[in-house]
C-alpha cells in the first residue's frame, strides 16, 4: 500500500540511505534497544480518503446535532449565530497551517490578528491589556486564581458557588499542585451571598472569583463584591460572557482586577465542548504577571510599524521554571474566529444579538411561569439569557416531555447541585426563533394536558387533589 501523504518513493528512499551511508533503515533505528523493538500494533489497517469520509460520516450520523432539533442547552457552550464569512476566512490555510508567530517577518498576518483580538477583548472587558488567548474559560479562571496568588503572595482563593461548577473544579485541580486553598462561597437565592463573602474574605485571601451572568444565568452584585475584595486586599476576578458585555457594564468599570471567560459563542462551533477559546485581561500594572502570549506593536529596521510577540520574559521558553505559567500552545485559530466574528458583527450587531437573546429569554420565562407547575427557581434575581426553571416534577421528566417534541430543553442542575432535581437551566439565544419559544411552551402545556387527562381517567382523585393545591 502506498500513502498519499508520503511523497518519498522506494527508489528515493534507497538513494537517501546510500547518501547517508547506511545499508538500511534498521541502521538508523539501531540506537533503540533491540528488546524494545518488534511488537504488534493494535490499530486498524490504512484506508483510502473515500473510506475515511465514509467512516467519519457514519460516526457523525450516530449523533443528533443541535441544528437538527430546537436547542435550549447552554451552561458554558451555546449554539449561536455564526456568520458564513467567519469560517470561510478562518479556513484559509495561511492562517490554519501556520506555526506560532515566533518569526515576525513572515507572521505579520497572525500577529496583527492577535493584536486586534487583544484590543477587542480589552474593549469588551474594559481592561487595559488582554493576552492572545487561553485554552478555555475554565482554565483561564484557574490561571487567574494562580495569578492572583503570585500578585498578592497569598495562598487562598474564594470561588462563588454560582461559578460554573466545572470551572470551579478546574480551579481546584490547578490549585492542588501549589497547594493553594480553594473555598466555596455559598449562594443565596441564586446569587452570591455577600455576607458570606465578607465573612470568608480575610487578610490571607488572594482572590475572589465571581461569574456574571452566573451559572444560573443571574446577574450578581458585582460592585459590592468587588469592594469587599478590595477592602481585604484580594484581587477581584470576574468570569464574563463576552456577548453579554455588549449590554452589561464592563468589569473594568466596576473594579475587576482580572477578567476571564470563554469565547466559544464568538463564532466558534460548540464542537462537543472544544476547541473553544479562553480570554484573559487585566490592569496595566499586572501585565508582567499575565500568563500566555502577548503581541505588541513595534517598528522594523526600515522604521515601519509592525507586530511581534513581546514581554516574553514571562513565558516558559525563556524563563523555564520561573515562567508565569507553562502555557505554550493556546487557541490561536479560535481567537482568529472570534476576531472575525467581532469585526463582522461589529459595534451595533453585538448589541442587537445580545438584546434579542435577552428579550426572547425573558419572553419565554414570563410565559413559562404563567403555566401551572412551573416557576423560576430564583424569581428575585435579574437574569440575562439563561434562567433556572423549577418544575413540580423532576427536571428529567420535563426534559423527556420536551424531547418528545424534538426539543432539547436545557441542562438539569442535578448534574452538579444536590437537591436540584426539579431545576432546569434554560438557555435562549438569537438562534431560538419565536417559533421555537412557542414550541417549547406548547410542548409543556400539551404534556400538562395529557398528564392531567391521564390522571383524570385513571385516578380521578389525583386531578382533583392537584386542582386544589
Amino acid at each position: 500500500m502506498s500513502f498519499n501523504y508520503l511523497p518519498l518513493t522506494d527508489a528515493q528512499r534507497r538513494d537517501m540511505l546510500s547518501a547517508i551511508g547506511v545499508s538500511g533503515m534498521e541502521d538508523l533505528f539501531a540506537p533503540i534497544p533491540r528488546e524494545l523493538r518488534g511488537f504488534e500494533l493494535a490499530l486498524p489497517s490504512g484506508h483510502s480518503e473515500l473510506e475515511v469520509q465514509q467512516q467519519l460520516n457514519r460516526l457523525a450520523a450516530q449523533n443528533r446535532p443541535l441544528s437538527a432539533q430546537r436547542s435550549f442547552v447552554g451552561a458554558g457552550a451555546t449554539l449561536r449565530f455564526r456568520p458564513s464569512a467567519v469560517d470561510h476566512v478562518a479556513s484559509r490555510s495561511e492562517f490554519s497551517t501556520a506555526y506560532t508567530p515566533y518569526q515576525p517577518e513572515i507572521s505579520q498576518g497572525t500577529l496583527q490578528v492577535i493584536y486586534e483580538f487583544q484590543s477587542m477583548i480589552a474593549e469588551l472587558t474594559g481592561m487595559d491589556v488582554a493576552n492572545a488567548s487561553m485554552y478555555d474559560g475554565a482554565s483561564a479562571a484557574a490561571e487567574a486564581a494562580l495569578m492572583a496568588c503570585r500578585i498578592t503572595h497569598r495562598h487562598r482563593i474564594l470561588v462563588s458557588e454560582t461559578v460554573h461548577p466545572e470551572y470551579a473544579e478546574v480551579v481546584r485541580t490547578y490549585a492542588s499542585g501549589p497547594e493553594v486553598a480553594v473555598e466555596t462561597v455559598p449562594h443565596r437565592d441564586g446569587a452570591l451571598d455577600l455576607e458570606a463573602v465578607e465573612r470568608l474574605l480575610g487578610q490571607d485571601c488572594a482572590g475572589l472569583l465571581v461569574q456574571v451572568p452566573n451559572v444560573f444565568g443571574c446577574l450578581e452584585a458585582v460592585r459590592a463584591a468587588g469592594q469587599l475584595a478590595r477592602k481585604a486586599g484580594a484581587l477581584f476576578v470576574v468570569i464574563a460572557d463576552p456577548i453579554s458585555l455588549a449590554l452589561l457594564e464592563a468589569p473594568g468599570a466596576y473594579g475587576a482586577d482580572i477578567v476571564v471567560g470563554d469565547g466559544q459563542g464568538l463564532g466558534n462551533p460548540v464542537s462537543f465542548g472544544g476547541p473553544h477559546l479562553g480570554f484573559m485581561a487585566t490592569r496595566q500594572e499586572h501585565v508582567r504577571q499575565l500568563p500566555g502570549r502577548i503581541c505588541g506593536m513595534s517598528v522594523d529596521t526600515r522604521g515601519k510599524p509592525c507586530f511581534t510577540l513581546t514581554l516574553q520574559a514571562r513565558e516558559q521558553h525563556i524563563r523555564r521554571e520561573k515562567a508565569a505559567s507553562n502555557i505554550c500552545s493556546n487557541q490561536a485559530l479560535n481567537a482568529l474566529v472570534a476576531t472575525l466574528y467581532l469585526a463582522l458583527v461589529g459595534k451595533t450587531g453585538l448589541v442587537e444579538l445580545a438584546s434579542v437573546s435577552v428579550q426572547r429569554a425573558h419572553h419565554l420565562a414570563d410565559r413559562l411561569v404563567g403555566m401551572a407547575g412551573l416557576e423560576l427557581a430564583f424569581p428575585s434575581q435579574r437574569f440575562f439569557n439563561e434562567f433556572v426553571l423549577r418544575a413540580d416534577r423532576p427536571a428529567d421528566r420535563v426534559l423527556a416531555e420536551l424531547a418528545d417534541r424534538g426539543i432539547l430543553g436545557g441542562v438539569p442542575l442535578s448534574r452538579w447541585y444536590a437537591g436540584s432535581e426539579r431545576d432546569l437551566l434554560v438557555t435562549v439565544t438569537e438562534t431560538n426563533s419565536p417559533e421555537d419559544l412557542d414550541a417549547y411552551l406548547a410542548a409543556l402545556s400539551a404534556s400538562r394536558r395529557s398528564s392531567a387527562q391521564e390522571r383524570s381517567v385513571e385516578v380521578p382523585a389525583t386531578a382533583v387533589d392537584h386542582a386544589t393545591v
Binding site: 500513502f3 501523504y5 508520503l6 528512499r13 537517501m16 547517508i20 547506511v22 533503515m25 538508523l28 524494545l36 523493538r37 490499530l43 490504512g46 467512516q55 457523525a60 449523533n63 443528533r64 464569512a85 476566512v89 490554519s96 497551517t97 501556520a98 506555526y99 508567530p101 517577518e105 513572515i106 505579520q108 497572525t110 486586534e116 491589556v129 473544579e169 492542588s176 499542585g177 497547594e179 446577574l219 449590554l247 462537543f272 465542548g273 505588541g296 506593536m297 529596521t301 511581534t308 513581546t310 516558559q316 523555564r320 521554571e321 520561573k322 507553562n326 502555557i327 505554550c328 500552545s329 487557541q331 490561536a332 485559530l333 482568529l336 463582522l344 450587531g349 444579538l353 438584546s355 435579574r382
Partner: protein, 486 residues
Amino acid sequence: MPTLIFDQSIPGRRGVTIPASGVPERDLLELLGPELLRQSPPELPEQSELEVVRHYTRLSQLNHSIDTGFYPLGSCTMKYNPKVNEAVARLPGFADLHPYQPAEQVQGALALMYDLQSWLGALTGLPHVCLQPAAGAHGELTGILMIKHYHRHHGNRRTKVLVPDSAHGTNPATAAMAGFEVVTVQSNERGLVSVADLKAHLDDQVAAFMLTNPNTLGLFEEDILAISQAVHEAGALLYYDGANFNAILGAVRPGDMGFDVVHQNLHKTFSTPHGGGGPGSGPVAVSERLAPFLPVPAIVRRPDGSYALDFERPLAIGRMKAFFGNFGVLARAYAYIYAHGHEGLRQVSRDAVLSANYLKARLGDAYEVPFAQSCMHEFVMTSDRQKAQGVNTLSIAKRLIDFGIHPPTIYFPLIVHEAMMVEPTETESKEELDRFVEVMLQIADEVRDTPDLVNSAPHTAPIGRVDEVLAARKPNVRWRKPQTAR
C-alpha cells in the same frame, strides 16, 4: 502594516444583519437593572462584510504556512495537514454537538473518542488514556499533577522534579506550576542524559524525572532502560514528553521503555493544524498505577456496546478544562490514524527519520553537527563556524526567509551554541529536501563571500527585522479609540 480594522471603521456601517426579536420587548433598564446596564457599547469595528473579508484575507497573505512553504522547525513537527480532516471535523454531526446532550444523542462522538483512546494506548504502550488536555503543556500539567496526587496518596510528599538540561521549557515550567522544585540533570558528551548525574540527584524527595525520547537533540536515549530502572528504584516516576513522538510510531513504545505517563501532541504527530499557535490537543496515557488519578470524566464502553461518561473516580485529580477536550482536534487525529493504519504510521516515522538523517548527511560538511551518531526525526547543527566568519545563527535563519523557507528552531536546545534544530517531517518530497540543502549551502557560501547580505536579511519578507527591545520597553499591546482621553 495594513491599517488596523478599528481605524478602517465607518460609523453606521455593518457586517451582518440581525433578526428582530419577534417578541414583545421590555425595557432593558428594567430587565438588567441600573447597576449593570452598560452606558456605552464596546468600541468594536463598523465595517461591511467585504471590508472585513478583504482585511483578513490580506492579513493571511502576510503569513508563511505549511501550505505555502517548507517548515523545517525542530521539535514542532510541521507536517502536512490533510484536508479531509478539515472536512470531517466540520460535519454538523460533530461541530453542532453539545457536551451536555444526553449520551444517547452523542454515541458516535463517544465512540470516536473511545477508539482514539485505545489507539493512543496501543501506540504508547500505556493503555489508560484521557483526551481532555487542550495542548501539550496542558497534558504535561495533567501528568505531573497525577504524579503529585499519586505520591500524596501513598503518603509521600516528594518535592522535586528532575529535568535534563536539554528539556523543552515547558517541562521545568510545568513542574514549577505544580508546586515542585526543579532540578536539572546534565547531558553527557554524546548529547544523552548522564546516567551518573541522574543517579546523583535521585533521592527520596524526587517525584519524577521528565524526559523526551528521542531528546531535543534528536538523539534516542540509548540508556533508557537503565534510566527507567534507576528512577523507579528511587521510588520516582518517569514522565515522557511526547513532543518528539513522530520519530517512533510503531518502532518503540514509551510504556515498554518504562515510562509511567506520556502526553501526546495531536497537533504535531497526528497532523492537526497548528492554527498559528493553537488549538492543540494533549492527551495523556498512563500506566496501571496512575490510572485511578486520571481526570474525570472517563469515556467507558458498557457491556451492551454503548458508550457513557463515568464521573465516579474518587482518586481523580479533578478536571483540567470544562467539558471533554478539544473534540474537533480529536476528530482530525482520528481521521489521520484511520487513514494511515498501523503500516502507514510505521512508514511515517521511518520516512521522518530517513529525511532528517539525509539532511544531516548533506549539510554536515558546510555546518557543524556536534553529535555525529545517527539521529531520529530531527537533528541539531551549529553555525559556530559561520559565527567565526561574522554571521550568527539568527541571520542564517532570517536569510532562509528570502528563499521561502521557514527558519529552523534556533538557539535551542540551550546546551548547543548557535543551535539550529531541523525537523523536515515525512511529508516533504526529496525534491524539497534537496532544494533546502542547496539553499543552506548557498547561504554558507554567502556567509563567506557576502556576509552583509546575510546579516541584513530578510530582504523579501513583508517587513524587516523587528525592534524587539522597543516592543518590550514600551509595550503597545492594544488599539485605543483616539479621541478618548484615558
